[in-house]
């Protein structure tokens, strides 16, 4: 639910990184935070457990500056991925304009990816939004895994229903920053086109 403040000439959009536990959502935000120019980013806020697992969310405000006279701000959030925090994910997802679904490319994580994507579909639907029309970009993370455990892209496409849904899909290695900005560009474009 983008917010457009005509008096202050500001536009705010909320983008949420969703996905199973340990798939690299926080790593995406950390990389973005480390790379964007100082004048664009705010502080990266993390509510995490002592073991650095996300407990509530990470939050990174990005200020894109003036676009046609409108100060444009993107707020990036992550959800906690662990199964335990299902209701917390619902809370963070509230009012999101778009979602980056980060999938783990480990063969053994395919079921977790599928479960998480199903849960996302349910949660979007519960917000009275049509899941099929909702802005979503998929990121296949950890493409640098050893070949014996790396799930082929075609297999992930098949299990996650990418072809049917026509979602943009990006291969990434978030720890090295590969594909991180490509993903951010893709979701930003989709969100803007649906404002």
């Amino acid at each position: 639910m983008a917010l457009i403040n005509v008096a202050a000439r500001e536009i705010h959009c909320k983008i949420v990184y969703y996905g199973p536990g340990m798939c690299g959502k926080t790593t995406n935000l950390q990389y973005i935070h480390s790379q964007v120019p100082k004048e664009v980013k705010g502080d990266l806020l993390s509510i995490a457990t002592e073991t650095e697992r996300t407990l509530f969310f990470d939050f990174l405000p990005l200020d894109l500056g003036k676009v046609r006279g409108f100060q444009t701000r993107f707020h990036l959030y992550t959800v906690p991925g662990q199964v335990l925090y299902e209701r917390t994910r619902v809370a963070v997802l509230n009012g999101a304009d778009g979602v980056v679904f980060v999938a783990d490319s480990h063969k053994g994580k395919m079921q977790e990816n599928i479960n998480s994507l199903r849960e996302l579909a349910q949660n979007i639907t519960r917000q009275n939004k049509r899941f099929a029309d909702f802005p979503i970009v998929l990121q296949y993370n950890k493409r640098d895994l050893p070949p014996d455990v790396l799930a082929p892209v075609a297999m992930m496409d098949h299990f996650l229903g990418v072809n049917k849904m026509n979602w943009p899909r990006i291969e990434a290695i978030a720890t090295k920053g590969v594909g991180v900005f490509e993903t951010l560009r893709a979701i930003s474009r989709v969100v803007i086109s649906k404002l």
């Binding site: 639910m1 983008a2 917010l3 457009i4 403040n5 005509v6 008096a7 202050a8 536009i11 705010h12 909320k14 964007v36 120019p37 664009v40 705010g42 502080d43 806020l45 509510i47 509530f56 969310f57 939050f59 405000p61 990005l62 894109l64 500056g65 676009v67 046609r68 409108f70 444009t72 701000r73 707020h75 959030y77 209701r87 917390t88 619902v90 809370a91 963070v92 509230n94 009012g95 999101a96 304009d97 009275n128 939004k129 049509r130 029309d133 909702f134 802005p135 920053g177 991180v180 900005f181 490509e182 951010l184 560009r185 930003s188 474009r189 803007i192 086109s193 649906k194 404002l195």
Partner: protein
């Protein structure tokens, strides 16, 4: 629902009324700060002493607290928690829900009595609910704001700032 219908456009006139309402609330209660958020955590307007640099993070956290308490309410089969109060040694925060969509937050110190905050907040939420209902009803300004020229400029900015 078409996602297009979920963007909220707050026109200048309504912003002025919201700001006036928040300013009055701060003055009448002797509070430090009042802010109005939408449920996704975006700050619509804020009023108070001095400039707070942390307002964006504050908005995200308060909306998170409220969204989380809404889920707690569901588990308890309560319709909603309409208000919450956080008491500190120096600063206190009172948060009230407006029409399921918006959150009013007042930050005040020990010089202000919570009872006064509650009473005047109730008055302010009624007033703001009427203004925000008008905001929700109106969609006409969107095309003036978000024309195709805007979208093209926006895409250029995205490509420029978010590059590898």
């Amino acid at each position: 629902m078409d996602p297009q219908l979920t963007s909220i456009i707050v026109p200048s006139e309504e912003i002025a009324q919201i700001e006036e309402c928040l300013a009055r609330l701060v003055e009448d209660t002797g509070s430090d700060y009042a802010l109005l958020l939408d449920k996704s955590g975006q700050v619509i307007s804020s009023k108070g002493d001095g400039d707070r640099q942390d307002i964006t993070a504050l908005g995200a956290l308060i909306a998170g607290v409220f969204a989380s308490s809404r889920e707690v309410a569901k588990l308890l089969r309560e319709r909603d928690f309409r208000a919450s109060f956080q008491q500190g040694v120096r600063e206190n925060i009172f948060i009230a829900l407006i029409e399921e969509q918006w959150i009013l937050c007042i930050i005040f110190n020990k010089g202000t009595h919570i009872g006064l905050v509650k009473v005047l907040t109730k008055k302010a939420t009624d007033e703001l609910a009427a203004v925000l209902e008008r905001v929700r009803q109106q969609h006409k300004a969107r095309d003036e704001v978000l024309g195709s020229a805007f979208r093209t400029s926006m895409e250029d900015t995205i490509d420029l700032l978010f590059r590898d």
